[in-house]
């Protein structure tokens, strides 16, 4: 959910782009973080915990904690809270530790 009105802030966005979350087409703004675009679409689960496969989402949102690692364009362990959204990106829930191909 995006904030429409704010007493202090005005949010400026890049151009609208399409991206894919686990294959589903979504819209976001170029240059915003992937996590922001997913939250705007109501998606808050980013990965599974390694051992117990519990759902995990954002925790720090500034690139510190690694709670939000996802697979982006085939690359695992991307911190989506700081990675910027681009047209056509393929973002997937990360399961396990991820492998570099």
């Amino acid at each position: 959910m995006r904030i429409k009105e704010h007493p202090i802030l005005k949010f400026e966005h890049g151009k609208k782009v399409k991206f894919y979350y686990n294959g589903t087409e979504l819209e976001g703004y170029e240059g915003e973080t992937i996590a922001a675009a997913l939250h705007a679409a109501g998606i808050r689960t980013m990965r599974e915990s390694i051992h117990l496969h519990r759902p995990r989402g954002l925790f720090c949102n500034i690139g510190n904690c690694s709670s939000c690692l996802m697979v982006v364009d085939g690359m695992p362990n991307v911190r989506v809270c700081v990675e910027k959204l681009r047209e056509g990106m393929r973002v997937e829930t990360q399961r396990g530790k991820g492998e570099l191909k």
């Binding site: 904030i3 802030l9 996590a35 922001a36 519990r54 949102n61």
Partner: protein, 358 residues
């Protein structure tokens, strides 16, 4: 290898002020930050600051960030590397940096570490469910990204961050069900606390979170009252159907680089974790390595800016730079810091700092 007189790690309030002060004396500075912007966590602080004029009181954090960043970017003496993550500090004094998938080595004569802090979490069942965030994370989401974290929030912690973020959530159109605080008293300044109470948010002191629940995401939480020994009182449970919990239970200093450099460290609860020992000039046990801001103990942005000023001035002075009003500038900064840490509010920080003097 890149050579520089002073390398500053971290472009938040402490690092930016350090850069401006050091460059002001004539030193050549390289400022490194992992983000693609400068300002650190100031960029999400929409509230007005307290303190004196020199600490930019009554200005909003976002405007302070804008002004300091512009001043740094327009200063010929300061070279800025953004999207640049410091990976390590080597024993020969080399700072290893990754920028745009490239490995860069920087060899500074003096180093100022201003890496800030990280949010703490809290132990309770299901504390890992999506929907449970650090309060600062939600502040970033709402004030920087312009996106809501969910519909209804339970804030854990009634210190300044918890109370201020609660108010900012309301400003963004998000419902705050309650603020709970394990301590018997509210830690935040009264002016902030009374604002959220006026907005209709109850603050439950002596309450903690017992457990959260939810299938794939957070659906609610049970809160319980604590007795004077901080033990839960059976039968006092309250359920909240919230889809967001914000944890505002403190920060800890981000000191990895200082450990790596071999700085003498001490665990000081009042400063929120392991912190470096330092002298009056904010120089650590390793000559030439200075600290400024939350990395040396969690305080507030106003104190971080003053520490940055002090570290910047002293690092430049140690390289032989001078200004006719140096003593005056330094004394002014020390006086501001003393003011910020005075009175009952500053008691914790004063007792913490007394334990880390070299």
């Amino acid at each position: 290898m890149r050579y520089t007189e002073i390398c500053i790690i971290g472009g938040g309030p402490a690092g930016l002020t350090a850069a401006l002060k050091a460059a002001g004396l004539g030193a050549e500075v390289t400022l490194v930050d992992r983000n693609d912007y400068l300002g650190g966590q100031l960029i999400k602080q929409t509230h007005r600051f307290f303190g004196s004029k020199q600490q930019r009181a009554s200005e909003r954090g976002i405007n302070i960030a804008r002004e300091l960043s512009a001043a740094v970017l327009n200063n010929d003496k300061i070279k800025v590397l953004t999207e640049a993550t410091v990976l390590g500090y080597y024993e020969d004094g080399v700072v290893a940096v990754e920028q745009h998938d490239k490995f860069i080595k920087i060899k500074p004569q003096k180093l100022i570490v201003a890496t800030g802090g990280a949010e703490k979490t809290l132990a309770f069942p299901n504390n890992d469910l999506p929907g449970i965030y650090g309060a600062g994370a939600v502040q970033t989401l709402v004030n920087v990204n312009g996106v809501k974290p969910g519909k209804k929030v339970l804030m854990v912690g009634a210190g300044n961050i918890g109370v201020i973020v609660s108010y900012q959530l309301i400003q963004a159109g998000v419902e705050v069900a309650a603020i709970i605080e394990a301590a018997p008293t509210i830690g935040a300044y009264w002016v902030h606390a009374s604002k959220v109470v006026r907005a209709g948010v109850p603050i439950y002191t002596s309450h903690t979170i017992k457990r959260a629940w939810g299938d794939q995401e957070l659906e609610g939480a049970t809160v319980v009252k604590l007795d004077e020994n901080w033990q839960p009182i059976a039968g006092t449970e309250i359920d909240f159907d919230v889809d967001v919990i914000c944890l505002s239970v403190g920060l800890s200093p981000l000191t990895e680089l200082l450990w790596q450099a071999g700085c003498k460290m001490a665990y000081v609860p009042e400063l929120c974790g392991h912190v470096p020992l330092r002298n009056e000039n904010l120089e650590t046990s390793i000559p030439g390595i200075y600290v400024a801001g939350d990395v040396g103990g969690i305080e507030e942005a106003s104190a971080a800016m003053m520490e940055g000023a002090l570290a910047g001035l002293n690092a430049a002075k140690s390289l032989g730079y001078h200004a006719p009003d140096f003593a005056e500038q330094r004394a002014g900064v020390l006086k501001e810091l003393e003011g910020l840490r005075s009175g009952p509010v500053g008691e914790k920080i004063r007792s913490g700092l007394a334990k880390v003097v070299l």
